[in-house]
Symmetry: C2
Subunit: 249 residues, 2 copies
Amino acid sequence: MTDTSDRSLREASLETDPEAREPSGRTSRASAVDDLVEHIRTLISEGGLKVGDSLPTEKELCERFNTGRNTVREAMRILKTYGVVKVRPKVGAVIIDERMARAFDLFSFNTLEVSRETFVDIQGFRSLLEVASFELLFDKVTPEDIAELRQINTELLNAETAVNASEIDFRFHTRLVAVMGNKAILDVYKIMKPVIVKIMMKAKTVQTFATVTYSEHAEILETIEKRDRTAYQYKMKTHLDAGFRHFSD
Amino acid sequence: MTDTSDRSLREASLETDPEAREPSGRTSRASAVDDLVEHIRTLISEGGLKVGDSLPTEKELCERFNTGRNTVREAMRILKTYGVVKVRPKVGAVIIDERMARAFDLFSFNTLEVSRETFVDIQGFRSLLEVASFELLFDKVTPEDIAELRQINTELLNAETAVNASEIDFRFHTRLVAVMGNKAILDVYKIMKPVIVKIMMKAKTVQTFATVTYSEHAEILETIEKRDRTAYQYKMKTHLDAGFRHFSD
DNA sequence: ATATCTCTTATTTGTCCAACAAATAGGAAT
DNA sequence: ATTCCTATTTGTTGGACAAATAAGAGATAT
């Protein structure tokens, strides 16, 4: 009873000023949560809030935007999932920037099978990063890099499972890409990790990793050491295309 | 009163079987929401649910995992933000895969200024995609591609604002990357859009776009038409490095 | 009689409120 | 300076109602 009257009263007061709280000219036909997310985003940008600054408490957000606490919580949950705020009890919501880490989570849902198209696309991309950019790679690589790469490669020999081995395989190629010293490229590589690892494991046993993969890596490292451009491109391309025959569709 | 007794009763029953509901061996010290997300993820994978299949209703999830409805809603909100479910009133939550689209949202928070490091990284990446991959580009490009690129470039002349012009500039380069026919590369490019557009706008007016940028694009298109590898690489590299001098730090 | 359309109904999601538990920052007391 | 207490804030739950809508019931035309 009292609840009902309260509601109609509150909603009536809202009706007198519909869409007034919309910062941009959008239609406001979205859900209350989406609206609120938009509000908080403008609150961050127009308030000039930087990483480390705090957002108002849940209660203050309720009052400021005239909405319920669960709505505020769902909006904050979205922002948390985006990796732009970190909520700590009592101290409130602090602005962060962990969007890259969230992107990793995003693609870690690994239920779907890798299609032939995805395989071709991903390996084509990797070919671009790891084969075509050999000039940059040869220019920047140091003996320490090669030593580390060789160290990672030897771990392949002791891997106990194919899953374990594919993780090491991925680390080898990640370390190679890291030589280029470009953070954006490295981030992209890490984001793609789940798919790449899945491709690496395709039709491979732990023995395959310890024999075929290991020696291919070793040969690739030799071409890098000798700065043999032609051999590097050939070996790496062959290495990346190895899994191709398993898509006989 | 009744609320309190109910609660303690329920929680007591839970205490008898702590962590029993944990599918994996993780500590269960995470929040109820995070636990529930994990539960639903295993529900999807172990249930073999595919895109298009439906999840149980909120109420069923409450009963099955013995949790409150708002907790279920926050968990579903996370999954919605990830782009793995789409919830429609009455019909329930349907499994989708719009993670790539969500990744775009993720990086569309554009409050932070582009640092010199980010500029160098991003442009280095673009250089890899647009300069180093000229062989692939020249191999696949068609007269229709070039016609479309030229059409996009002419739109630069009629742009009314710098924001508008930078969007067209981005479309030009996106179209160029699309020629390679690799979806993964194109997706990465689109994800980076906010940063790239911000870089494009750096210290440029709408006049700059209509004069300098326009003619640089036109020259690049000519080198592609003539399959002039050397000229293409030089022109494109120069084009990408243009904004460099604005970082005099 | 069948098909199609409209209306009703029951179910489900969206939002809000109230209550309590858990964590903790900040102050009070020692 | 340390310890304890308290008030505030977030985390979780239950309940209520509004809004949307899928499914079924009923009406109408062919």
